[in-house]
Symmetry: C2
Subunit: 392 residues, 2 copies
């Protein structure tokens, strides 16, 4: 186990009707909030009315900025930063999924920065403070409701970069599984693939003596796999959504990666797909991940046997580790397909013509500054291209 | 799954040499601290010197209060409260195990309360604030380094009561597994029994649809059981202690009990033993817990079969649930004995003469105000007496 520093102060208020508590919860922290959201779905569902009623009942003023799109745009964050400054907002309330929350975090740190907030994403520049963010989660997937991470797409440059800071951990997050009932069915699959990937990125490691986090990762993965198909079958299954939502938060608050060298190559490879083709993040991950496993598993066969046996339920025959790993990967791909997720780049509408460009951008080789991706096995642009080709 | 509110803001700094960072870590939070500790062990080991050097290097002034005993005493907390007021201390640094940290928390809330801090323990009176507490953990057991809980013994009244508040969650806790190498060997067993009990109290529940926390509980229990005997074999086994220490914090920061009705009868029954006979808390728990399981399991056989199969590795034969449960309890008792823990009250030097008195005190029947213990099965004083008799 490696030394670590764990800090996950976000308060999680979980369960039925909890969104109605938002006014009382924010009252000690804010006089005026920016209500940040996506398209019209929170207005159609009535959530917007409940949230604004709760704010008004607690005497909290608010201004609004809607219009966040999946793969949230830098330009809207710029707009939010200007609005927060002008209106002297003291808290940002993100009502939505990961895109809305990530956009809120970009605004939150941009308010206190004189330059372009893109500098943080581009240069990893540290921040000293940010406007507090609270969230009401409507899509369990990104884990942004309890993480200090944010991902933004610079649409002018077709670049999608991530950034993280403890100052971006939300103050509190409300999670009512009933809010997930009305999601489009494909969002379920995207979300589950994203949540599983957050665990995979931490789980697959060369660090040894990691019993506790191995076990916590495996338990969380199994919970996601057990409950995903029932939720898909019946989109109003409260219990299944409760498990998925809670698991999504545990998957990404940092705990499962403590003391382990982490990977994150699949996220980096997927970000290139989304930046150029604007595909859903979870769909891209479902395609890339099994290819990544195939390409890297020989680096640490024991780790992948453990995954196949402890997570995918493959029988541990002990004599043929490669066969066990192959069966584990096959079952994962099969699970994703059952969830309605794509298995190939071509299903995502991604042809072969820009694979090399994406491989070189992902590794920054395109910018003359190559940094291999991943932790378990360092991936150069040729590796990334090989993985894209495995799943084309 | 029940609605829940999860808040565990304590920052955990984990690993080799981390105690030397204490000055830098506290610098933004404190000008003058109360250094609170137990007997002389931190002086003998050199830890005291390293900690005070780190404080001095960061220009943090300190006053000292040593002398905390296992089952920490109210009278010493009174002394600490007076000292903190007189010296205008703005943070309490607890260097020790659960007793030292619990004592620090009593002081922390007492400083801001005009009456006797015992009122909180006795009446459950809520608090609005407390002096911040930081910890350097020397015994993995109580989980107090990441919880908002404290237990104090009123030695005049021979009462041992607990209290909890979010305001008592430590600001930060340092955990260096190397500090555990010099513990007396019996402390290992006491600690493991305590940590396992913190999970049992949350795990055994009648709440259904608890996949995630079931799995997290089971993974943490298995980690403790896997690493306890290797650490006992070689008290300098860093990796084993790292797992035990990390698991002990996860066991008690609240996560594993979220969305579940919890139990806590074994802790309440043990507190009576410690209050009167001053036995080590973990030793008392090792005795009481298998008796409790035996007395209550028929209330929820499925839960105990799950425990036997998923945690204790009993084969799931499906046809005879009682036999599976019995084998699970037998294996748990056997594990405790291997760790050097007692299996009966008589091994703790507790005779039969005061069992009824303790049963009536534990349930408050002795005070004409009976409140049954537990969640899985409500225990009246007759039940508690029956359990004591099962393990006498």
């Amino acid at each position: 186990m490696l030394n670590f520093d764990f800090y996950a102060p976000t308060r999680i208020i979980f369960g039925k009707d909890t969104e109605n508590e938002i006014g009382a919860l924010l009252k000690p922290h804010a006089k005026k909030v920016l209500l940040h959201y996506g398209g019209g779905s929170i207005k159609k569902s009535g959530l917007y009315d409940r949230v604004t009623a709760a704010l008004k009942a607690s005497g909290i003023a608010f201004v609004e900025l809607g219009g966040v799109k999946p793969n949230p745009r830098l330009s809207l964050a710029h707009e939010g930063i200007a609005l927060c400054r002008k209106e002297e907002v003291d808290l940002i309330l993100a009502v939505g999924g990961g895109s809305v929350i990530d956009s809120a975090k970009a605004i939150a740190m941009g308010v206190y920065y004189d330059g372009d907030v893109w500098d943080m994403y581009h240069d990893g520049r540290p921040i000293e403070k940010a406007v507090p963010v609270a969230t009401i989660l409507t899509i369990p997937a990104a884990g942004s409701e309890s993480s200090g991470d944010t991902v933004i797409t610079n649409e002018e440059k077709a670049l999608k970069y991530g950034y993280g800071s403890p100052h971006l951990r939300p103050l509190l997050s409300i999670m009512n599984p009933e809010l997930f009932f009305t999601l489009p069915k494909e969002q379920l699959g995207y979300g589950v693939a994203d949540m599983m990937s957050h665990i995979f990125e931490r789980y697959f490691t060369n660090t040894t003596n990691t019993d506790l986090t191995d076990g916590l990762c495996e338990a969380t993965l199994k919970t996601l796999m057990k409950n995903a198909l029932p939720a898909k079958e019946n989109m109003s299954d409260y219990n299944a959504w409760a498990e998925l939502g809670f698991a999504g938060t545990v998957a990404h608050n940092g705990l499962l990666g403590m003391g382990r060298e982490q990977d994150w190559a699949c996220h980096d490879m997927e970000h290139e797909l989304s930046a150029i083709y604007d595909v859903p993040h979870g769909a891209g991950l479902a395609v890339v991940t099994p290819g990544w496993m195939q390409h890297v598993y020989k680096e640490n066969v024991g780790m992948f046997v453990q995954f196949a046996v402890n997570v995918m339920g493959v029988e541990a025959s002990f004599r043929d580790p490669d066969a066990i790993v192959q069966e584990g990967i096959r079952r994962l791909r099969e699970f994703f397909v059952k969830l309605g997720l794509p298995a190939t780049l071509s299903e995502l509408g991604i042809g072969e013509d820009r694979l090399e460009e994406m491989a070189k951008k992902a590794t920054k080789a395109a910018f003359g500054n190559e940094r291999p991706l991943g932790g378990l096995k360092p991936l150069y642009w040729q590796d990334v291209l090989a993985i894209y080709n495995l799943v084309k």
